[in-house]
Amino acid sequence: MITFNIVLLIFLSVATISGALVAVTAKKTAVAILASGAISLFASIFFLVLASPDVAMTEAAIGAGLTTFLFFVILRKTESHHAEK
């Protein structure tokens, strides 16, 4: 039985996995950070679908929010010198 949830989930997983591929292959670190933030967002939707609103909130707040910002801060502090060759 293909429900809405499944369609959503398939879409989400495709999105997450492509996001992950972007995150680990991106040349620019900033893109990778954004992609990983996106993954976290998708993941929190995953969690919602999996009946875990608590986890979803946490993932959104910490994974998508704080972590991403933190990456950017660190990136800004190191990048001015150079990025990955």
């Binding site: 609103p53 910490i62 910002f69 001015s80």
Partner: protein, 233 residues
């Protein structure tokens, strides 16, 4: 390129290994006994509408205390690493954030703080709790810090908040031994009316303490990192 293909092969084998989990997985029909127990008895035993909260704060409270400890440690270590040699040095400012960001964050800031507090105070009733609330507060601080690098929450205040909430948490846990059945037992306070703000025994207090502590710690981490003078900036 040899190395890359090796790694790719390794990852493939790893995926294959994990795939056994997928192939062995059988969707369970019913809850297992622990989950069943929680879902059946939580309300009468702990009295929180959100079973996850009950599990997090009470049943597996020791994990949560550990979790708070992890954040505490992280904050301490980061503070130690980043500020050790910088004693007495004037904080050199990083480049300024954009105007829009700074304005937006200034508007959003109070709201975010209030949201965070709401989330952790209501942790036992609705999704969310101390960590989520704390994270929201932390994000708010982060935003404003990004917008205005000169912004710094008073470290003293942060320390006080962090320490007091932490100590309170531990003391509440300890009270569990004396007043109730064990360490971190939430029943040191009456369970109250189910579904109300002041219910579920000590959970709201604990979650508030966690929220404050997490918020303060995250803010501390963010301020620490943000204020670090990198050699080039």
């Amino acid at each position: 390129m040899l190395r890359n293909s090796l790694i790719l092969g390794l990852v493939a084998v790893f995926a294959l290994a994990l795939f056994t989990i997928f192939s062995e997985y059988k969707t369970p029909e019913t809850l297992n006994r622990t989950a069943q127990y929680y879902n059946e008895n939580e309300v009468s035993q702990v009295g929180a509408a959100n079973v996850v909260t009950a599990v997090v704060v009470t049943y597996r409270g020791l994990d949560t205390l550990g979790e708070v400890t992890v954040l505490f440690l992280t904050a301490s270590v980061i503070g130690f690493i980043l500020r050790r040699k910088k004693k007495g040095e004037p904080v050199v400012k990083a480049d300024k954030g954009s105007e829009i960001l700074s304005t937006a964050s200034r508007i959003l800031f109070p709201g975010s703080i209030i949201l965070g507090v709401y989330v952790f105070v209501n942790g036992h009733l609705t999704p969310g709790g101390g960590f989520q609330g704390g994270a929201v507060i932390g994000t708010a601080i982060l935003l404003i810090a990004l917008a205005n690098p000169e912004f710094a929450v008073s470290r003293k205040v942060l320390h006080w908040l962090e320490s007091l909430s932490g100590v309170t948490y531990v003391i509440i846990g300890l009270l569990g031994i004396f007043l109730a059945a064990g360490f971190l037992d939430n029943r040191i306070l009456p369970l109250g009316d189910f579904g109300h703000l002041l219910s579920a025994g000590a959970i709201p207090i604990i979650y508030s303490m966690i929220g404050i502590k997490v918020g303060a710690e995250l803010s501390g981490i963010i301020t620490d990192i943000n204020q670090t003078k990198t050699n080039l900036s």
